[in-house]
């Protein structure tokens, strides 16, 4: 058995690119694999912190499905590929109870064969619990309603391109599935306000004249001036929205959230979740810098400055509390914008509320909320509800669909 210094000698030559004999190679391998995996407190992958940062960046690039899909669109357009009405399915990871429970089931959307396989199993073992509803509940899709300053409304159909509204100072059109605003005048004396809102079961994205982009989740709205003016760019939001703010040092961007909080922004990317039935307003910063105020019209008082990866949580109630949360699961926060559900580390009821908004259904708990079920994983949002329910059945959630009511039993 070689001595440690002999091993070091071999290692040294190996690192310098010299060739080793077969036996030397064997010894080196044995030594390397013999190292015990102790739980050292300062274990890292790479010796160079620059490498570690680089690798982390690489990993997040690989996982950035949103950006990838954007680039796919750019490419498809240039190559003149056929327009696809339904979003192509991203790879699906299974949802199962974590930490050892083995109830993993195959990807829900793996094709007809898998679907019929699942159906067969369900009818054999869980007799009676699945009532294939007479009506298929379709998943949410793109769509929204634009309300102009004079109160007239326009239904936004993402598949049609063209002008939607031309009024003083601006014009709005649908381009590539989003609502795009262009200023036709440099200045306006009096701005007009438009509102875009998504009902349950719809989502939409839009681009302001300054390049700022906003994605609206289901059951959300944004009210904005048609042309940005004055000393700031201010919009009002309810529900859930994802912002990519165009940097403009002269005109800070402010978001009034559900009338209860305000976010001040300087060129950045962040997500605001302000559904009234979610207990708190959560503002998650992805990139850049924001300041979150605990009240509307915020210029003073309680506020938090966020750094990327942090979240400001403003609780509901008469005495709202503003908290700073570190180490937020950003993937989970913006999963919706990437066309996914991400149920990691959220309780069952919260996951059901997401389904309510996306499928436009009501969840009814016949015997109270199941406490022992932990969901884990993510899946695409473009799944018909019945397929998803079959999956839930498989992990032990007894449920049935009656029209638009999802009944959950313990």
């Amino acid at each position: 058995m070689p001595t440690p210094s002999e091993i070091l000698g071999i290692l040294d030559r190996f690192l310098r690119g010299e060739s080793l004999s077969d036996s030397e190679r064997e010894e080196l391998k044995k030594w390397l694999f013999a190292q015990e995996i102790a739980d050292q407190e300062d274990a890292v992958v790479f010796s160079d912190p620059e490498w570690e940062k680089d690798f982390t960046g690489y990993l997040s690039l690989l996982r950035n499905r949103g950006k990838l899909e954007e680039e796919v669109q750019v490419f498809s357009r240039k190559a003149g590929f056929a327009e696809v009405g339904i979003k192509e399915q991203a790879p699906v990871r299974s949802i199962f109870r974590r930490w050892g429970w083995v109830a993993a089931f195959a990807a829900l959307v793996a094709g007809a064969a898998a679907y019929s396989f699942l159906q067969k199993n369900v009818s054999e073992s869980d007799s009676g619990w699945v009532k294939t509803a007479a009506m298929q509940v379709e998943p949410g899709k793109d769509g929204a309603i634009l309300t102009l300053a004079d109160g007239s409304t326009v239904v936004l159909d993402s598949l049609g391109n063209g002008l939607v509204a031309v009024q003083s100072g601006f014009q709005a059109s649908i381009r590539n599935g989003e609502l795009v605003y262009n200023a036709t005048q440099e200045f306006v004396t009096e701005p007009s306000y438009n509102t875009v809102h998504t009902p349950k079961g719809r989502q939409f994205s839009m681009v302001f004249a300054d390049g700022t982009r906003v994605w609206l989740n289901a059951a959300s709205s944004i009210r904005f001036p048609t042309v940005f003016f004055g000393r700031e760019r201010k919009v009002e939001v309810t529900g859930e929205a994802y912002f990519e703010i165009s940097p403009d040092a002269k005109l800070p961007f402010r978001v009034l959230v559900d009338g209860r909080a305000e976010v001040e922004v300087l060129g950045t990317t962040f997500n605001v979740n302000a559904y009234p039935n979610e207990g708190s307003i959560n503002t998650t910063l992805i990139d850049g810098s924001v300041r979150v105020f605990a009240a509307a019209g915020g210029t003073s008082g309680n506020s938090i400055i966020l750094r990327p990866g942090q979240q400001a949580q403003l609780s509901q109630g008469t005495q709202p509390e503003l908290k700073l949360i570190e180490g937020v699961d950003v993937d989970r926060t913006v999963a919706w914008r990437n066309g996914l559900f991400n149920f990691n580390n959220i309780d069952f009821a919260a996951a059901m509320r997401q389904l309510e908004r996306w499928y436009d259904i009501n969840v009814v708990y016949e015997n109270g909320i199941p406490k022992d079920i932990e969901l884990y994983g993510s899946m695409t949002r473009d799944v018909a509800l019945n397929d998803l329910l079959i999956g839930l059945q498989k992990i032990g959630v007894k449920c049935r669909l009656e029209g638009r009511d999802l009944i959950i039993l313990k």
Binding site: D39, E41, L61, W99, G377
Partner: protein, 221 residues
């Protein structure tokens, strides 16, 4: 065999080697190519999705500008599409072919920059030799990162969470246990199983030595 490594024998140590001719994991790669030859747009999108980010990472490291990197990668993939579907060129290995295309583009970009920077009247091909080395290094780094990232994909989500927590986020076992609301022992078990699994996945010529802190290594010094 190409070696890529860095050893600081006084404490932290990383040793890894990459088999440059990585086995072609895509058994259906040939099928993909043939579908693209006959103009299958879905197959092309599959290739796009598989390689875009990898090519983007490489290009960004070389040219330094995000917008430019985006454009270069889009151009390369468009060329790939045209070459295969129109000119019926059949590449032997998609990864090598794509990376060669993007590398050539990068070389041209760098050359142009040098010429622009050079003084008036001086037209030199001052494309330094070490630029080629730098391109090699970035290519190898991307391959290494990709191999490691692939391994993470093969772990179970629980193992993935533990490995990411420990080796990427740099959390201690205790911190990770608190975060995931479980016992440190549970974490250690997942970690051990994950590492066993990684060992099994890596081909014999690729080994990664995770740093164990400095105690074990310094024992030998």
């Amino acid at each position: 065999m190409v070696m890529l490594g860095q050893a600081k024998l006084s404490g932290r140590l990383v040793v890894f080697r990459i088999n440059q001719d990585m086995p072609n994991r895509e058994d259906n790669e040939q099928e993909l190519i043939h579908r693209i030859v006959v103009g299958d747009q879905k197959a092309m999108k599959t290739v796009f999705r598989t390689y875009y980010m990898r090519l983007f990472y490489f290009t960004l490291k070389v040219v330094g500008d995000e917008q430019e990197a985006q454009d270069l990668v889009q151009e390369s993939l468009m060329n790939f599409w045209l070459n295969v579907s129109n000119k019926k060129i059949i590449p032997e290995n998609i990864e090598r072919y794509l990376f060669r295309m993007i590398r050539n583009r990068c070389v041209n970009v760098l050359k142009r920059r040098r010429l622009v920077d050079s003084k008036e009247g001086e037209i030199q091909d001052i494309f330094a030799e070490n630029a080629e080395d730098r391109l090699d290094e970035i290519r190898l780094r991307e391959q290494l990162f990709y191999r490691i990232a692939q391994c993470f994909v093969h772990l179970t989500p629980a193992q993935n969470e533990v490995m990411t927590g420990i080796y990427i986020k740099g959390l201690t076992i205790r911190q990770l246990a608190d975060q995931l609301n479980t016992s440190p022992n549970n974490i250690r078990n997942h970690k051990a199983r994950a590492i066993e699994r990684l060992r099994g996945l890596l081909d014999p010529e690729l080994f990664i030595l995770f740093i164990m802190g400095s105690k074990k290594i310094s024992d030998f010094l």
